[in-house]
Symmetry: C2
């Protein structure tokens, strides 16, 4: 393996891909806008933002030998607890022992990845903001503590998130498709602290959901017994972030819509008013890579290539899967970087495009459907069939979260199952109707 690699962004995708590249023998440098996350105080300063790690992310972390090391800082989630006005419902994730998700602090995960990358010789340049990329060399311009620097490399990986500077420069003058869409809803994070008795205030080993068409909450557990709740609300309107600016209104809103949060989060009003609302974006783009005639190239991974709404909990998992697939493609064509990057894009983009759609749909599901009896019945039938035919029948959520079946194939399979379910329902209705007709005729004859 020859050539130097330059990674832009030391977030989740950037630091994991640095690990993969270093393992493959590349000398790797990473340019990151922020400071070193391991500096004293950073962990405490940052809010406790956590993420659900599912099968795709697990597989990648296992591949680079990091999964075990993370165990102490993760909390397994065996299903979801749905908070409804009349009480709680528990929905297990799946049948098998390993059909669980892991909740982990973004910060802890990031530090573990950076530590491992450094151990493998990766050089991190903290406080370096990338301002331009020249895909023809390729060369990257960054502003660091000592002013502007230009870094050249054989492979530049843009892992600089949803508002990627690498993406913006990669496309200059090219026919680049870009779809960027913001949700009319945003989010704020709230901490559900450990109880006064030192124990979790609610079931810890689960994901919690408060569904609702005018606001919803999702909460993940933390290793210290607290949980991090994310409140999703419309930006506009009296019951949106724009309207909820007075303590009395906020209290009234939570009391009416999410009554149990008042006991779970004693200072819910203060936290809500104290935190900024953040926005949610979907980004699809193409191409993801460019190459020079002499075999160098630039490629996007993670949110830089495909930002999705967080309602399927797959953004990081898809980013980690990117890293794994890119590594495989580089391994399969060790002396042909342009074709390796093309193979990577061809293998991934159709599937992350599907993920973007699924993530939008899951917003609607969380918002509108989780409270619909019909939907829940269908969901139950889906799970029951899975229990009867564990291999032949797998619900979409299970395929996405608990397998590594490519997203597009998962969707195709779920569609086929849906048609069968619809067909079965029709057949049942048909049979019932036939029975009815027979009974009516019987009665007629009898009369």
């Amino acid at each position: 393996m020859s050539g130097h690699a330059l990674v832009v962004g030391a977030g989740l995708a950037g630091s994991l891909t640095a690990v993969y590249l270093a393992r493959r023998g590349y000398p790797v440098r990473v340019l990151e806008r922020r400071g070193d996350p391991r500096a004293p105080g950073v962990r405490e300063e940052g809010r406790s933002i956590n993420l659900g790690l599912s099968q795709r992310g697990i597989v990648a972390l296992r591949e680079v030998g990091l999964l075990e090391r993370l165990a102490p800082v993760t909390v397994p989630m065996r299903g979801r607890v749905v908070h409804l006005p009349d009480g709680l419902r528990f929905q297990p994730y799946g049948l098998a022992e390993d059909q669980i998700l892991h909740s982990v602090l973004r910060h802890d995960l990031n530090v573990a990845l950076v530590d491992e990358a450094e151990r493998l010789g990766v050089e991190f340049c903290w406080g370096h903001r990338v301002t331009a990329v020249d895909r023809a060399k390729p060369a990257v311009t960054a502003i660091g503590p000592d002013g502007e620097e230009v870094h050249t490399a054989d492979l530049v990986v843009g892992a600089d998130g949803a508002f990627s500077a690498v993406r913006a420069h990669l496309g200059r003058g090219l026919r680049v498709d870009l779809h960027q869409e913001f949700l009319e809803w945003g989010y704020k994070e709230l901490l559900i602290p450990v109880g006064d008795d030192g124990r979790p205030r609610t079931e810890l080993r689960a994901l919690h959901v408060w569904p609702g068409d005018d606001g919803l909450i999702v909460a993940h557990p933390n290793a210290d017994g607290s949980l991090t709740a994310t409140v999703f609300l419309p930006f506009a309107g009296d019951n949106g972030f724009a309207g909820l600016t007075e303590p009395a209104k906020v209290r009234e809103f939570f009391a009416r819509r999410f009554p149990d949060t008042l006991t779970l989060i004693p200072d819910v009003v203060e936290q809500f008013l104290d935190h900024e609302a953040a926005s949610l974006v979907t980004v699809r783009t193409s191409p993801w890579h460019t190459a020079t005639e002499d075999g160098r190239g630039v490629v996007l991974i993670g949110d830089a290539a495909h930002a999705v709404y967080p309602f399927f909990g797959q953004g990081m998992n898809a980013a980690f899967e990117d890293c794994s697939v890119l590594d495989r493609c580089l391994g399969e064509r060790p002396h042909d970087l342009p074709r390796a990057l093309a193979a990577f894009e061809a293998a991934r983009r159709p599937h992350t495009d599907v993920l973007a759609e699924l993530s939008k749909r899951n917003f609607v599901e969380l918002r509108d459907k989780l409270r619909s009896p019909l939907f829940l019945v269908r969901k139950k039938a889906d799970l029951a069939l899975h229990r009867l035919f564990p291999d032949a029948w797998v619900p979409l959520y299970t395929l996405i979260a608990h397998t590594t079946v490519p997203y597009g194939e998962a969707l195709d399979r779920a569609r086929r199952q849906d048609r069968l379910l619809g067909g079965a329902a029709a057949a049942l209705t048909g049979a019932a109707l036939a029975g009815l007709i027979r009974r009516t005729r019987g009665r007629r004859r009898a009369s």
Copy 2:
């Protein structure tokens, strides 16, 4: 009317909106990257690019009193001539005398608009490239012949085309939706010169179309008897721009696909190889405007707000309609710029979003359907019904090109008609089937 207006871009939308604003009493300054189009030699230098002016554009130009002045430089087009392997077909545009399009050189139209704007006191700053916009003031930074300048204004209009710098800066840090998509096909312009006898080489008062699923040509007439043809081809492949780089291949391609062009354009091969292929982009975005608390604002119009594929010939027409609608909104709320801009965006964006879709569809129609007998029959039925019920039944093309019915309403109406046409076809088929069954039964009885 108070306040200063600053227009970015002196293209078609920019110069027309400068005319409207000046008529409304605004002091207007226009910043344009290029030099003065009236400078000696510019007309001859530029290629003869022409456009089809239809009803929406006509209405706007009439509103500012420019239509008559343009008559000498336009050529009326009464229908389209379709070039098929077995000869030509003429399809008239409509029934009424005024259902015609006008072909005009972009350059001549632009000069007429700039002349009129200057007459009304508009100040043009040529050679000024806008590099940044601060929407909070608003202020515009431009690089002119004497270096960087900052211009402030009460109203900034971004009329700087499909790759608008104003649009890019308007959205910084806002939740801006942006959809940018390139067609896999591009285009080159070719001149069909006047014949050796000094007369046009083909019917002048029509739009010419060579349909085809692997390449198509559209040609508009010029006032001097020549026509400008635009060849649309895929970028990729042996029969795309990438493959057609050798004279022999180009000649063979035109001879096979568009045989009559070899006589219409004697130097077709030279022209084709000499010109650069340009790309085609669709851009949808939102919001189109921002406003400050003290009543200033920035707004996008024309291609900066909505670039569409040129296959419905509506880009400029929609841009001119924008200018007219913006003027009306400013007139209706003379002392409330923020609400005037909001009203403009609300009135226009849904309709130009529809236009973007229609323009994509028309690409498919020109490419695939114009040669399909079934499609042509349906098209004929559409026109026949229009002839029978001129007011009640109006084909989509007629609604778009020959009326000012908003694009969205035009589409809704065409959809209703389509359903009726489908229903009628189904009814006819049903009747035919019934007849068949009756006949079969009759025969059975007879046998």
